[in-house]
Subunit: 342 residues, 2 copies
DNA sequence: CTGAAAGCGCTAACAG
DNA sequence: CTGTTAGCGCTTTCAG
């Protein structure tokens, strides 16, 4: 049997260390926090006492007075299943955020909140000032939490423009979604495609909305009509959407999919339907994930710097936490990567 | 420009709410924490004051006195890249932990610590009592942190037997690795295979060590000699190891890979070498990941209940946090799943 | 350069 | 049922 220690085991406090070292609590605090204004011999004595007692500062007590925790949260309002799917978005953002926070010696706290209960807990956790700042990735619909946190004075950064009319300004970093899509669709137009369809992303997510907007905008300037099917960014939904598109308009000769995963799914549906890519139908994706180079044929796609989104979010957040001013929106570039599929 | 609020914006405290509602701090505290021993009209008054002021409890202050945070950490000592690779282990454990913590209304705090600096931060974070308990998954080598936390009186659970001579007992949940491997190798022996090789996992991880032990143990009872190559659980390493194995012993007729991913990689190397599976060489993997059913041929494998590892870790941890006693080791069963590859 | 004193915001006896 | 009181463990003026 293992006996639960239950936290009740006496933990040495500053007081204890002070007594042992024969100094005051204030002095111990200074040494522990690296103040240089303490005489060397005393510093040594304090450090020995710390070591002997195994003293570790109580962070709750410290942050109660300093109002800082030296940690930041990244909130992913998704189920673990989706976070760990083969969509490399989360992976990239987390990597970027990690790197930047590492450099600032801040602890990254990852909060995954797929369920409603989870979302409520995250709200309590962040509003309760367990972290110095909060980042959001992959928001669905118009989540009121970012604005609520800002009203509480807690720094917030989002990846992707937050949906909903903001009563307060929520800063965010995004990539030039519309510009990227427009250049993709233009490429299709320029190469003489007549019937250009799109497989769009979910319309409760800003990336889904913006990419559809980009598609419509690019077609508006031409005389082509739009042909739309809705997916949810997954491979499977791409296949389903492509089939439907072929049903709707058997003569379509190009398709822009709002994610590489959906483009991959579309490739499969096209193959099943006996269409050759790019001869019969040109395909363009979005994201430039690793896999895009290994599909048959390799995917023309719009590259977005996912990892940099994470870095930029973290960097701006650190500035906010430090009390600096920042630009409310940071826009990162996208780039059309031309391969064999279009 | 967005002005940083920097946390300095006056946040209403219990005191403020109490004054506004015309009651004492204690009463407000009772209402906020759902005590029923407060007269209904007063409760209502307090709730209104809370609403009007937008009061949110300061969790640092609360946990300073309650000694609880209502959150638990799951530590993944890996880089984000590996955590988000196609190895479904992390995904499964996180899912299991999430579900169990959800049920207990505790916040899951995910700490990813690939670098040394990251590991140090995690140490400070957990030792500083930011969480009520700590879980470890996928430990490498003999990490001293679990034992250190236990000595501090912080409840700890590990997935997989912790390596290194423990000065204190670190409770863990594991699956019956050895039993699973033994049944796999027996299956190979029973079907008449003579030269059974293994692609083992990394030897700084307990899963890697135990599965190799199982292999050796099963062969010890027979007259077969062991043929070993070391991988690191990734698909790529499986391919490399299989090539080497074929070099070492071109006549081998069976291979046990310590993970399905490595088995998948091995399949590829075998195909390249012109070996048919299972006719020339039988292959067995470990994990029973989704993909195992879609390989060519489908993989015979040892199923381990990954998600349940997470659930069990979280459940036991909650008991420790509650001050209950638990069994120091929880063993979960494995099961040989026979498909076409062996 | 060091110590004393005053809280940070909250909960939990203990009285009344 | 409600208010008073006493800290939780730490940092930070302010004196000395």
């Amino acid at each position: 049997m293992t006996r639960a220690k239950n936290g009740t085991r006496e933990r040495p406090t500053l007081e204890a260390v002070a007594k042992r070292a024969g100094v005051s609590r204030a002095t111990v605090s200074r040494v522990v926090n690296g103040s240089t204004t303490v005489a060397e011999p005393i510093q040594e004595a304090v450090r020995r006492a710390v070591r002997e007692l195994g003293y570790v500062p109580n962070l709750a007590a410290r942050s109660l007075v300093t109002q800082r925790t030296d940690s930041a949260a990244l909130i992913l309002p998704e189920t673990p299943t989706r976070v760990f799917s083969d969509d490399p978005f989360f992976h990239g953002v987390i990597r970027g955020v990690s790197m930047e926070l590492d450099a600032a010696d801040k602890q990254l706290v990852l909060l995954i909140a797929g369920s409603t209960a989870g979302h409520d807990r995250v709200e309590r956790y962040t509003m309760g000032r367990h972290v110095d700042g909060v980042m959001f990735a992959s928001m669905h619909g118009a989540d009121p939490l970012p604005a609520a946190l800002i009203r509480m004075g807690i720094p917030v950064m989002c990846s992707g423009r937050p949906l909903g009319r903001a009563t307060v300004e929520v800063p965010y970093v995004d990539v030039d979604q519309i510009g990227g899509v427009v250049s993709a669709v233009r490429h299709l137009l320029d190469s003489g495609r007549k019937r250009i369809a799109t497989i769009s992303g979910p319309q409760d997510m800003v990336a889904g909305i913006d990419r559809l907007t980009g598609y419509r905008q690019a077609l508006r300037d031409s005389d082509r009509r739009s042909i739309v099917a809705i997916g949810d960014f997954t491979r499977e939904s791409g296949t389903v959407a492509m089939r439907q598109l072929l049903d709707d308009d058997p003569k379509l000769d190009a398709v822009f999919a709002a994610s590489d995963l959906m483009a991959h799914g579309a490739l499969r549906a096209l193959r099943e339907a006996g269409r050759r890519v790019p001869d019969d139908v040109a395909v363009i994706g979005f994201d430039d994930i690793e896999m895009a180079r290994y599909t048959e044929p390799p995917l023309t796609t719009v590259r977005q710097p996912i990892q940099q989104i994470g870095r930029e979010m973290a960097r701006q957040l650190m500035r906010l936490v430090a009390g600096e001013e920042i630009e409310p929106v940071t826009m990162l570039p996208t780039e059309l990567i031309i391969r064999e599929s279009a």
